[in-house]
């Protein structure tokens, strides 16, 4: 490449601080050449999404400059970004559920016949576009009826319809099956061959190495290095992302520590032929049956949207089911808790680490103390005739110490804590119940590695004390490291139950994509 | 930054308003000398601008300012607790006479008269026992007599033989208007039908012109061609409706003939202004006493309005006939039912 052509995208000395002085990105400069796939990688919270938000105009930078083909962008903002041919596919899709596919795609540049919005022309345009790039969708369908994979296609079509030459994709594979990921990559390569410039955010090194031409590593809001993908090593990239060698103290996933449940151990949680409907009335779970035994971690693998979330919510009592039974065993006989309230399930020994700590796990405007007893606030230990006792303060302090929750003051709102500290607080609180059954959904999502280690240690400890743990994670290596058995879900059914010692990420991926129906080990 | 801009913009808007200020020179014509009596009027809820009851009382107060050189103050209560507070404020500020306008104020005036025995009070439209409250005068009107006369005119002017009445609230005081009106109409035309509507159940009923108009239109649609209203500013809507539909309205309290000339047959004059001004005069001349004063046809406190605005509507035969009826009432040959008296008699 010669220096005659300026890079398609240049971001120079970009700095963005959020309120409270949190620095998201600091003095970041990157350049992206015309027609390349440029991956931006980093841990959660490294500033990838913020940086791309600045480029797409949605987040105003505090300082710095953006140049496109050498020309500075004078008036950044979403509209100007669109004008300059920048299109972004967001991690959380920016689609309007009640609009049709065509309406979503042409929004902002609608074909018109006179004053009238020309719906037929819009659908025609979408059809042509989807044919050209092999992204099949029904233009007249309402977006709320689509699957996640289809929604992503709509998002990409939307960006293409805007005439974008520069595409930004924020963690596009997080919600896709391996097969869908493969399809996506072929679309991206096709786009590249047509001269489009692609920025690709990820933290999955395999994917990045497979598709990218250039890689920029971000850590703590700063650029660590930009390098060609060819010749880059997975291990060195990982080291750059986290800033040190991957935790050497981590136990070998093939030899989990702690008591491994024998097949004879007591079944504590039993789900039988659970059937659940999605919010849109389509089936989410089609007769799922599972058993979790004391001293066992049952991992639940699957691409997001295949029913894992619903399964845990049903078990936790947060979602209605249309069929099947949930039994919590207390040593003597199984009790069907289908109609039992959440607080009663808590009393029966059930704990739940919700998948989204902001939505389900914490009250962000409550203090650390108040969050530390959330769900246990009616326990006699914390609650007297005159209300909540000061023992709550002591409990919060204990939790904070045991789980290394770093807070300036336990009376501060948890909104101000980092994601890792928030998550440690949730995990600590749920484990402090000494649950017989623990439902753990994405327990380490979006937290720093130190916090991951603490949370993993805590889960193993709970297992060793005889808890039955049902673990959902989209991180396959986490599942392989922690689980005693792994059940794979696909389209609302368990399609395989595997022994982690005898399987690989590739095999899991195959099942997750619906690639076979068998049971490797009996459950 | 934006806040600052907003403030600047607001200031500019206000400056614009003040430049556009339409206010005429202050109405203060205080050229008189000598120790001045201080008189306060506490108006009825709804306040000034009703073109009838309150405005009439205020007119009396202003006339006293002009003729007697008193110093005036007036309060316009916004809710039912405030009349009492206004009375207290004026009593404490040393006003010589404080006049409460409207029957709603009865309790408040009695209470104020009790706690300020050294002040004089007057109440319009409801009787207060002078034996119990010697510092309190009540100013009552023989509305039934005036209503009888306009009722007679209504029946004479009506072509359909069907006349209407719009009252503010469905209460005895308003019934007094209605009964007199109906008697007058039937006296002229025994076949005459009187359709009656009330605006509402709360004090709001006396200042809802939108509703007044809708009610009048309803009555017109039912064949009525003359409507008499006793409903404060609600009646403004009645008069408006009459003008729009080419029908007739009859005003109340003040002379409302001017409001839609050619469409206001006449107005039942209830000279609240006369009562107010005369009471003030009594105070100025040191002859005020706590008693119940009735202002009727005889006293000139009640009448019907004739002026250039309705000259064309009331023909001279009609006027002659009404004058004859008036003479008969004065002579005692016709006794118009006083609904309130009937009530009290029960």
């Amino acid at each position: 490449m010669t220096d005659v052509n300026p890079p398609a995208v240049e971001m120079l000395h970009i700095t963005k601080r959020f309120s409270g002085g949190v620095v998201a990105v600091e003095d970041v400069s990157i350049g992206v050449a015309q027609g390349e796939i440029h991956a931006v990688i980093g841990e959660n919270g490294a500033g990838k999404s913020t940086l791309m938000g600045v480029l797409s105009g949605l987040i105003p930078a505090d300082s710095g400059e953006i140049r496109l083909s050498g020309a500075p962008v004078s008036n950044p903002g979403p509209a100007s970004a669109v004008r300059h041919g920048i299109g972004m596919v967001y991690q959380h899709f920016m689609l309007i559920p009640v609009f049709t596919v065509a309406e979503n795609i042409v929004l902002g540049r609608e074909p018109a016949a006179g004053l009238r919005f020309d719906r037929r022309a819009a659908e025609e345009q979408v059809r042509a576009l989807s044919d050209r790039y092999g992204l099949k969708v029904d233009p007249a369908a309402r977006v709320e009826t689509l699957s996640v994979g289809q929604e992503q296609r709509v998002e990409i079509l939307k960006v293409l319809h805007c005439g974008a030459d520069i595409l930004i994709l924020d963690e596009p594979t997080a919600v896709l099956t391996p097969q869908e990921t493969k399809d996506l990559f072929s679309v991206l390569l096709q786009l590249k061959s047509q001269g489009k410039t692609i920025l690709f955010i990820s933290h999955k090194l395999n994917e990045v190495l497979a598709i990218a031409d250039t890689i920029t590593v971000l850590r703590h809001g700063k650029v660590v290095e930009t390098m060609p993908a060819k010749g880059a090593m997975k291990e060195s990239l990982a080291r750059m992302m986290v800033g040190r060698d991957l935790e050497s103290g981590a136990p070998d996933p093939r030899h989990p520590v702690g008591a491994v449940a024998s097949a004879s151990a007591e079944v504590l949680l039993e789900l039988e032929r659970i059937e659940v409907l999605r919010d849109n009335g389509l089936p989410a779970l089609r007769g799922v049956s599972l058993q979790v035994r004391s001293g066992e971690i049952l991992g639940l693998a699957g691409v997001e949207g295949n029913g894992q979330t619903e399964l845990l919510e049903v078990a936790a009592g947060l979602r209605e089911k249309v069929g099947g039974e949930i039994r919590l065993h207390d040593g003597v006989s199984g009790r069907d808790v289908s109609r039992t309230s959440i607080s009663e399930r808590h009393r029966l020994g059930l704990s739940h680490i919700p998948e989204d700590r902001h939505r389900r796990g914490l009250v962000l405007d409550f203090s650390v103390v108040e969050n530390a007893i959330l769900g246990r606030h009616r326990d006699e230990a914390f609650c007297g005739p005159w209300g909540i006792r000061s023992s709550a303060d002591i409990e919060a302090a204990t939790l904070a110490e045991r789980f290394e929750v770093h807070a300036n003051d336990l009376a501060d709102r948890v909104r101000g804590l980092s994601g890792g500290n928030q998550q440690k607080l949730v995990v600590g609180r749920e484990l402090a119940r000494r649950p017989r059954v623990l439902l753990a959904a994405q327990p380490t999502r979006g937290v720093d590695l130190a916090a991951v280690a603490i949370i993993h240690r805590a889960l193993r400890e709970a297992r060793s004390t005889g808890a039955a743990i049902l673990l959902v994670s989209s991180d396959l290596s986490e599942l392989l490291a922690l689980s005693d058995r792994i059940a794979v879900m696909y389209e609302g059914s368990v399609v395989a139950t595997l022994d982690p010692a005898k399987t690989t990420e590739e095999e899991l991926g195959l099942y997750m994509a619906g690639g076979g129906r068998s049971s490797a080990i009996p459950s | 930054m934006l806040m600052k801009r907003l403030l600047v913009a607001t200031a500019a808007a206000i400056a614009l308003w003040s430049w556009w200020d339409y206010r005429a020179g202050a109405a203060d014509s205080s050229g008189l000398t000598g120790p001045r009596r201080r008189i306060a009027v506490v108006l009825s809820v709804g306040g000034l601008g009703d073109k009838s009851f309150n405005d009439s009382a205020y007119e009396g107060l202003l006339r006293a300012v002009r003729e007697l050189g008193i110093e005036e103050a007036h309060g316009e209560p916004a809710d039912i607790a405030e009349p009492a507070e206004f009375l207290d404020v004026y009593a404490e500020e040393g006003y010589d006479l404080i006049i409460g306008v409207g029957f709603l104020m009865k309790d408040a005036v009695e209470k104020a008269a009790r706690s300020h025995p050294d002040r004089k009070f007057a109440l319009i439209d409801a009787p207060i026992d002078p034996r119990e409250y010697p510092n309190c005068a009540s100013l009552l009107f023989s509305e039934h007599e005036g209503s009888f006369l306009v009722g007679a005119l209504a029946a004479m002017a009506s072509k359909s033989g069907r006349v209407g009445f719009v009252g503010g609230m469905d209460i005895p005081l308003i019934h007094k208007f209605k009964v007199g009106y109906a008697e007058g109409a039937r006296h002229v035309n025994p076949e005459c039908e009187v359709l009656v509507r009330y605006a509402g159940a709360g004090p709001d009923a006396f200042h809802d012109p939108v509703k007044g108009k809708a009610m009048a239109e309803t009555l017109f649609s039912q064949g009525v061609d003359v409507i008499y209203h006793a409903s404060g500013s609600t009646g403004n809507g009645v008069i408006q409706a009459a003008a729009e539909h080419g029908k007739l309205a009859i005003g109340v309290d003040a002379n409302q003939n001017y409001m839609k000339p050619g469409h206001v047959l006449t107005s039942m004059l209830k000279r609240v202004d006369v009562a107010v001004c005369e009471t003030i005069r009594a105070v100025c001349e040191e002859r005020f006493q706590g008693r119940v004063c009735v202002f009727g046809l005889k006293e000139g406190g009640i009448g019907y309005a004739m002026d250039e605005h309705n000259r064309a509507l009331v023909t001279s035969p009609m006027q002659e006939r009404v004058e004859a009826l008036k003479a008969k009432i004065l002579a005692g040959e016709i006794r118009v039912t006083d609904y309130l008296e009937v009530q009290r008699g029960k």
Partner: protein, 356 residues
Amino acid sequence: MLKKLDELSVSAWALLAAGVVVSLVILAIGENPIAVGRALIDGAFGGPRRVANTLQYAIPLTLSGLAVALAFRGGLFNIGVEGQLYVGAFAAAIVASPVASRTAGEGLATACGPLAILAAILAGVTAGAFWAGIAGALKSLRGVNEVIATIMLNWIALFLVGYLVNLPSFKATGDIPQTAEIAAGGRLPGLFPLSGDGAVMAGSGLLLALTTLLAVVWLFGRSVLGYEIRAVGHNPSAAEAAGIPVRGRLLQTMLLSGAIAGLVGADQVLGVHHRFIANFSPGFGYLGIAIALLGRNHPVGIVIAAFLFAALKGGALQMDALTNVPREMITVLQAVLLLFVAAAAGVRARMGARET
């Protein structure tokens, strides 16, 4: 603690700004803002009767501010305090008047009085809670937006009590749509004299307000129910996951808020008017919204805001009686104040929002 002060300082700044705006308006109509201000203060605090009036007016304002704030804390916007207090007032009046009038003058009255008062207060509170409970039930069972539901219920309440008070069985004789006067034994007694001769008394409604205030402080300071209500208010999903019955708490929040609103009505009937009178409220329920917002939903802030509004009201009357400045200036002041507080809160929320 510092944060709390910081939040109240927003209100203080807004008050200052609103004062500036209104002063400009007063200047615009050619009056002297300083003289107006003096009249305001004199009207609010000049003499025992005025202090008593200010106090008496602060009671319903504090209570309705608390009612709105309680709902706010639970994540609900109760615009229906006005309707709830009317229903509560009417219930209190019909319970109080027969008991009190039958026993009036008899020896029994002194014995029955306190009981009658208690029963009437209870009736008012229950009726207010019931009326709010309709909106609460619609919210918790059908997800109906409580803002709209309470607005509708306000209208229905006004028509309903307007109809009931005119029924022959309730209406007192005379022209005014009001119930019979409650005999002395059934009224809230005076609490302590404010003037030397004892002619002006502070009403014992003050005691009701104080009790309610302390109850609300306890509710949100320590109680488990308050903890749960706040959890639902901040994050219903998390509250649900924590085993808190969200729907029940929503309903209870509305019931409690309506109960306080009903207390406003009962206090007005038993302590001030001594009967139910149609349209007696000068918009206490709506002012409560402004007071809750101005006081940042904090009990102490609410008391301060309520006294501010009460003083403004007393002062406005004085000003209206004796100067050329119409009292609606106070409405303007309150509106501008509310607007500034809301805007300032919005700006702070935006600055405080972490975008990721």
